[in-house]
Assembly symmetry: C2
Homo-oligomer: 369 residues x 2
Amino acid sequence: MAKNSNFYPVVLAGGRGTRFWPLSRKKRAKQLLALDGKQTMIQQTVARLLPLASPKQFWIITNDDLRPAILKQLPKLPKLQVLAEPLGRNTAPAIGLAAFLLLREHPDAVIGMFPSDHVIANEKSYRATIERAAEIAAAGENIVVLGIRPNRAETGYGYIEAGNAFSGNALRVLRFTEKPDAEKASAFVAAGNYFWNSGMFLWSARTLANALREHLPKTASLLEQIAAAFGTRNFAATFRKLYPKCENISVDYAVLEPRSAKGEQASNLFCLPADFGWNDLGSWTALHEHHIAKNHPLDDNVVTSAGLFVLNACGNYVHAPGKFVAAVGVNDLVVVETPDALLITTRQHAQDVGRVVKYLDEKKLHKLV
Amino acid sequence: MAKNSNFYPVVLAGGRGTRFWPLSRKKRAKQLLALDGKQTMIQQTVARLLPLASPKQFWIITNDDLRPAILKQLPKLPKLQVLAEPLGRNTAPAIGLAAFLLLREHPDAVIGMFPSDHVIANEKSYRATIERAAEIAAAGENIVVLGIRPNRAETGYGYIEAGNAFSGNALRVLRFTEKPDAEKASAFVAAGNYFWNSGMFLWSARTLANALREHLPKTASLLEQIAAAFGTRNFAATFRKLYPKCENISVDYAVLEPRSAKGEQASNLFCLPADFGWNDLGSWTALHEHHIAKNHPLDDNVVTSAGLFVLNACGNYVHAPGKFVAAVGVNDLVVVETPDALLITTRQHAQDVGRVVKYLDEKKLHKLV
């Protein structure tokens, strides 16, 4: 595996990750937490890509709340390439801006778009998949999406329906499918040619720029103006003024779905099936299951604490560093303690934690969000 | 209601109350906690008796771990009358020592023995009952026990089986009955002449001293020697040397059961039925139910916190002062947080909390017990 001087990882790190409240906060979003191991999620994301690209090839798109912490966590990355959006506009403007910025000096750049808060079990397989995807993306107007081979009928993800084989194990994409209901999800998994949309895409900067010009012309023009100001004293003001005018839309909706509508051959959309142990850690429950699969703890209790006593308790996730924890007669709970907050929920209800943050936002309890 | 110069409340405050861990600790036992209101349990115990006796009539029997905190919590009581047992010997030596101490200067003293960690809803009724009990106790060799009219088939208490009426609503005692099984408990409640043993007894110092001389002669002799040293420079050494030699036995076993065996007439044992809203707060669950009955909180959630969000959660007891608490989709839990510990259990399992303390004792985790 070697560094590829044309490969530019763009890490999207503007998300808030409210489902990890109370550990995640506005200024300490999920990607800045060490949920799995000693490194934070964004540190892991960058570390696992560093064999493929040097630090100066990385771009991070985040926001003003998170930028200071990201600069601290990733001191080796060029500060100017850690961009804070004046306002979150979803993934199309974020990755689009990266494309127009890169085009100016690196017309042959291949961009990899990476979420900043996922875990990958098999990094070698991950990098091999990306190298292959970058090859395909470098050849013409191709767009490559990494498709995770589903191991359960998950209803929380978008699916990619794959068609004919392209080359190697790459497949042509037939269409993108929204989050299915349980019945559909089961059918997808049984069919064998459906993959989870990982949110990891590879394309050349030129392909992406052209796609935006075609499908989001107004936003593309704004992004080009912002990119043109990069490195000048007007950049901050231009960014602040024009970026909020961009359409608030995901790259999936803005580019991939219209492209897939052109048909399997004309779309130049490819899915590279991936089996590298991907987990998006979408909730405390997902994190819990990840720890169970990785570490096989006794009675499925995953506990961070200064000491532990367990009696007739299993399947609990407890985060209370510094405290002695006693769990007696409780099952399948999620309990998370921070200096100012205590969350008590269940594995089943952990996806509702965003509701707590919504309440805190509404009540303007700023210190807690 | 007037103060009775012959009435000497003896408050037993040597218990550890491990079932309120992690709030209760060796040096901060249940009776020193404000579990119900602003005053601690022992402060409430003394306050509700103060209309009947002046501070100098109170005696407290506790231990070295708790004495400093008790002196702080009850600054108006005579320090010398807050006695620290060198070693816990159960209730017979504790109350017996009080009897021999009082006999020396107050031969007509009537002693009321009171646990230090119970709650009483109706204090007027409580004091009226005690005044009546003190009258009966003052007349000869009588022993009066306050019997709580049962409102459920509780299996955790001892029961008093009452016989014929004596005078007023006082009844003669037929026998004391151990903690019954569920079937027996139901039969007791249905029968109507069974009462919960409240652990509150009244008798003259002379009656008690004589009963101990009769039933526990060796211990009685040791206690007399300790009492004789009271007020001398030898007291501490004598207490430390002789008290551990006393039998480790409850006054129920040592005196009341043998007395009841003499028969309904000869025993001079009386039960005064009480309806003053008694609760011994035997566990977090009992405390929770007490709060529910008293304050009728929304969805039976009793929460001490700096803020609260509840979603699909009911019947929970949460103690996390200073923290914002979010309870999502959880029911009937007991969660108690302190600076060094976090207990997670259920209403059903809260009686097992003593097991945590046992574990901590065994592991010599002294800071946590």
